[in-house]
C-alpha cells in the first residue's frame, strides 16, 4: 500500500512542480491537470471514491477548461502563450518561503505521535453520503448552492464587461 502512495505522490509533486515552473502557460495548465488527476488517484487510494471522481470531474473536466479559456483570451501575441520566468531574486524568496512552510509542516507532522485508527480503507457508500448531505449537513449544502449561483452570476458579470468597453481580447 505504501508503494502506491509513494508512486502517486511522486507523480503529483513532480507534475505540479514542473507545471508551475514552465514558461509556456498552456503546457503548464495541462501538466497541472495531470497533478490534479494524481490527487484524485490519491483520494481513490484512501478509499474516498466519490470525492475522487468529483475531483476528476470538477478539476479535470471543468476548471481546466475555464483556465484554458482565460489563458487564450488574455494573450498579447497570438501564436503562443509564453510568460517570462520569474527574476532570480523573487524566485529565491518564494522558494525560501515555500520551503519554510513545507518544512515547518513536515517537522510538526513527524514529531507528533499520531494514533492510526483504521487498518483498511473505510467504506463510505454514496447512499450514506446522500443521507448525510440531506440530513445533518443540509444547511451547508444550501449555502454552497447559493454561493455557487452567486459566483456564477458574478463571474459572468465581471467577465462580460459593459457594452461601451472596448474589447481587448483577440
Amino acid at each position: 500500500m505504501n508503494i502506491t502512495l509513494v508512486i502517486l505522490g511522486t507523480v503529483t509533486v513532480v507534475s505540479g512542480a514542473t507545471a508551475l515552473s514552465l514558461r509556456n502557460i498552456v503546457r503548464s495548465v495541462l501538466l497541472l491537470v495531470v497533478s490534479w488527476f494524481g490527487i484524485a488517484a490519491l483520494f481513490l487510494w484512501a478509499g474516498a471514491e466519490f470525492a475522487a471522481f468529483a475531483q476528476a470531474l470538477v478539476y479535470g473536466g471543468a476548471v481546466s477548461m475555464v483556465v484554458l479559456f482565460a489563458v487564450l483570451l488574455t494573450r498579447r501575441n497570438h501564436l503562443d502563450a509564453t510568460v517570462p520566468p520569474p527574476p532570480p531574486g523573487r524566485l529565491l524568496g518564494a522558494l525560501i518561503a515555500g520551503g519554510a512552510v513545507a518544512g515547518i509542516i513536515a517537522a510538526t507532522v513527524i514529531r507528533t505521535p499520531f494514533e492510526l485508527a483504521n487498518d483498511e480503507a473505510p467504506s463510505l457508500p454514496v447512499r450514506r453520503l446522500g443521507t448525510l448531505l440531506m440530513g445533518p449537513q443540509l444547511a451547508a449544502l444550501l449555502v454552497a448552492g447559493v454561493l455557487l449561483t452567486a459566483a456564477l452570476l458574478g463571474a459572468v458579470v465581471i467577465a462580460a464587461g459593459r457594452k461601451d468597453d472596448k474589447e481587448g481580447a483577440p
Binding site: 475555464v66 524568496g93 518561503a97 515555500g98
Partner: protein, 103 residues
C-alpha cells in the same frame, strides 16, 4: 514514519509548491493555479485524516472535501473572470503592472 505522516508530509510539500508558485510568478493565471494547488493540498490533508482517524463513518472529511472542491471551483471561475477584466484594462496580465491604485 507512519502512512498518515507520509500523507501529511506529501500534502505539506504540495502546499509549499503551490505557495512558491503563487509568490514567484507574475502572471495572474499562474498565481491562481498556485492557489488551486494549495487548496488541493488541503483537501488531501482532510482525506488523510478521514482515512486514518477515528469514526470515518461520519464522513466529515469527505463532505468537507466535497464542499471545498465546489468552493474552489467557484473561486477559480471568479478569479479568472477578474483576470479577463484586468486584461481589458491594462492589456496584459502581469500583476506587477496593476499599480493604478498605488498611493
Amino acid at each position: 514514519m507512519s502512512t498518515l505522516q507520509m500523507c501529511l508530509v506529501l500534502s505539506g510539500l504540495i502546499f509549499g509548491i503551490g505557495l512558491t508558485a503563487a509568490l514567484a510568478r507574475s502572471s495572474a493565471v499562474l498565481v491562481l493555479l498556485g492557489i488551486e494547488l494549495m487548496l488541493n493540498a488541503a483537501n488531501l490533508n482532510f482525506i488523510a485524516f478521514w482515512r486514518f482517524g477515528p469514526a470515518p463513518e461520519t464522513g466529515t472529511g469527505v463532505l468537507f472535501v466535497l464542499f471545498a472542491i465546489a468552493v474552489a471551483a467557484a473561486e477559480a471561475a471568479v478569479g479568472l473572470a477578474l483576470v479577463i477584466a484586468l486584461y481589458r484594462h491594462q492589456k496584459s496580465i502581469r500583476l506587477q503592472e496593476a499599480t493604478r491604485l498605488k498611493g
